[in-house]
Amino acid sequence: MPQEEKRVFLIEDNPGHAEIIKICFSNLAVPNRVQHFLCGEDALTALGCLGDTPPPAHLPHLIILDLRMPTMDGISVLEAIRATSRLRHLPVVILTTSSLNAEIERAYASGANDFIVKPFDLPGYIDLVEKLAVDWLESGDAS
């Protein structure tokens, strides 16, 4: 039986970074589909947390969330997700250029599952995505 396609929500305002992550995910062995949102509002709408949109038929297996974004920032998006009972246990990994302790603490306090500082080069991104797959996509499969 073919493996189930893993759904990943990527919330990232930098199109370049989103593209790299998508490319890295496309190279994974695990079948996956990365859905990119340029802002938190769009992602929350897709998750059924904002507006009148109905909740999606299938929740994503993983949400990758940037912290610094125009309008709604990552922490606010995370809080909105955690405030929705259906999404309370959804894995959310923070991916950001910032490595300020205060931000890390705030992210974990708001319910982040992991906090990763953006890599600086392509191998870094490849490793990062592979780690994400191992941590959050393949383990789910095994269970």
Partner: protein, 545 residues
């Protein structure tokens, strides 16, 4: 050493003045009264002298010739010697004697002679001295002055008016030459032996001044006593008045200066000088208080500015590390991807990667350019001067002419924008950035309009740039002024424009804020600038809009 208090000093001065007045006044009064007494004594002396002279005249020129004639007619011979009507000296002495009996006058009047016929007329030592002096120098025949006799002061008058002449010597040289009756009456010893030219006798008067002196003597201690009592009252009243009107207000003033009592500007003091000191102090302390408030406000303002500057610096460091790193990551990773793709020749992805690289470098350039602008905005290019805002707006609009025409934007500029104080180039930059923002966020408005004007607003008299574009939700009205803050996920903005506007306006001492009813409702960016009038006013912290 304990200092002498003003009150005691005043009392001392008054006491001293009083004592001086008492002694000075007493002495003056005494002198005056003594003079008066002397003058009175002289008057009495003159009266006695005149009376004696009149008596003498009457006897010599009227009574004696009349009686002599009557006697000779009756008896055919001259009358025998009888001093009761023949001797004027006798008569005068007797009149004086009776006069003293009727009046209380205890004066002394005598026609004193040396070796007088009658012992009652014998000169005393004082008179004898005078007679001898006149004998030596007949020109000095008069003396007057005050002399003590039996410890009593007397006004003394002595005058020698007669000197022995030949007719005189008939009775006063030798008993042989004298009429027989005379010798029989007086004997042959007294009244003889006088020489020609010798002073015949001295008219000697002594008017007691004891009465007057006693009078002044009684008055002066009495007067001193009364004055002392009055003086004590004066001192008491002076001390009380000095206490209530001088010492107490001064002590109060000292307490106020020391801050032990609140300063009361409306309180008045009774005495002009103390009131003047008090009101001067009130003005001074008010001025100090005002100055302190101004300084505190200034310190508060500076602290707030410093805090804001520190926060901005922190945010800047953070945003630089984040926002400048982001395009670098893009460039690097896509460059690496291109490298790999070149090995396997995946044309489409290579083209896309190169496009990302170009975008990222462009983004990086914009970021760095804007950062440079922002760092320059920290200081004025030219010194503050009166700037015509209409000129500023026209200059800024000229920069965006092409974009305005392309977007078919109707730009409405108010007639008179007035004059402000500032750096013209920086102000052009402000309007240029606001126009740039308005143009960027017009959305798909079919009739785009940008208005620039000046009006009263919630933050006072201010300038505004208003568009009818996409608008901004209330929660982002403050956030948009932050460095690298953007509300759109796409578009060429770097998030520096409004940060730059705020920075320039703050530098000019103005405020910036946004009004927008929300999405699709257009945006108005407001800012204040000090006008010429404001610059003249004392610096007062403005209210936050």
């Amino acid at each position: 050493m304990k200092k002498l208090s003003l009150q005691w000093f005043n009392t001392g001065v008054v006491l001293l003045a009083l004592i001086s007045c008492l002694f000075g006044g007493g002495y003056y009064l005494n002198t005056l009264l003594e003079k008066e007494a002397l003058s009175d004594a002289k008057k009495i002396a003159r009266t006695i002298l005149d009376r004696d002279l009149a008596t003498h005249q009457y006897l010599t020129s009227t009574l004696k010739p009349l009686l002599f004639k009557a006697f000779e007619e009756a008896f055919g011979a001259p009358p025998p010697f009888d001093p009761h009507w023949m001797s004027s000296t006798y008569v005068i002495r007797e009149i004086n004697h009776f006069s003293k009996m009727f009046t209380s006058g205890d004066y002394y009047a005598k026609n004193a002679q040396i070796n007088a016929r009658n012992p009652k007329n014998e000169a005393d030592a004082f008179e004898r001295d005078f007679l001898q002096q006149v004998a030596a120098d007949p020109t000095k025949n008069r003396w007057e002055g005050i002399r003590q006799f039996n410890d009593q002061p007397f006004y003394v008058f002595m005058e020698v008016s007669e000197f022995y002449s030949d007719p005189c010597l008939r009775c006063h040289s030798t008993p042989e030459a004298a009429p027989a009756g005379l010798v029989a009456y007086y004997g042959d010893q007294r009244g003889f032996g006088h020489q020609l030219g010798e002073p015949a006798g001295v008219k000697s008067l002594r008017i007691p001044m004891a009465n007057m002196s006693r009078f002044t003597g009684y008055l002066t201690p009495g007067m001193i006593g009364v004055l002392l009592i009055i003086g004590s009252f004066v001192i008491l009243i002076q001390a009380a008045l000095s206490h209530f009107f001088v010492s107490r207000p001064l002590r109060r003033l000292v307490r106020r200066i020391n801050g032990e009592e609140p300063v009361c500007a409306t309180a008045r003091e009774a005495l002009a000088e103390i009131d003047a000191i008090h009101s001067s102090f009130c003005h001074l302390s008010e001025a100090v208080e005002r100055r302190r408030e101004i300084l505190e406000a200034e310190v508060g303002k500076r602290t707030a500015e410093l805090t804001a500057a520190n926060e901005e610096l922190e945010r800047f460091t953070y945003t630089v590390s984040h926002d400048l790193k982001a395009p670098l990551i893009t460039i690097r990773t896509f460059a690496e991807l291109v490298e790999r793709d070149l090995a396997t020749s995946a044309d489409e992805r290579t083209r896309a990667s190169l496009a990302h690289i170009c975008d990222a470098t462009q983004q990086m350039t914009t970021l760095l350019d804007d950062l440079l602008k922002l760092s320059r905005a920290g200081k004025m290019v030219s010194p503050a001067a009166g700037v015509e805002m209409t000129t500023v707006v026209r200059d800024a609009a000229a920069i965006h002419r092409v974009a305005l025409e392309r977007g078919k934007v109707s730009l409405r500029i108010a007639e008179d924008l007035g004059t402000v104080t500032g750096d013209k180039d920086r102000l052009v930059q402000v309007i240029q950035n606001l126009l740039d923002n308005a143009l960027k966020y017009l959305g798909d408005q079919p009739h785009p309009v940008i208005e620039i004007g000046r009006a009263s607003s919630s933050g006072g008299e201010a300038f505004f740039v208003r568009d009818n574009g996409i608008g901004i939700a209330a929660e982002y009205h403050e956030k948009v002024f932050g460095l690298f803050e953007r509300l759109a996920t796409h578009g060429e903005g770097s998030g520096v424009g409004l940060a730059l506007v705020r920075r320039i306006i703050t530098l000019h001492g103005g405020k910036t804020w946004i009004e927008s009813a929300g999405a699709g409702q257009g945006t108005t960016v407001w800012f204040t600038l000090p006008t010429d009038k404001d610059m003249r006013k004392l610096d007062a912290p403005g209210k936050n809009p």
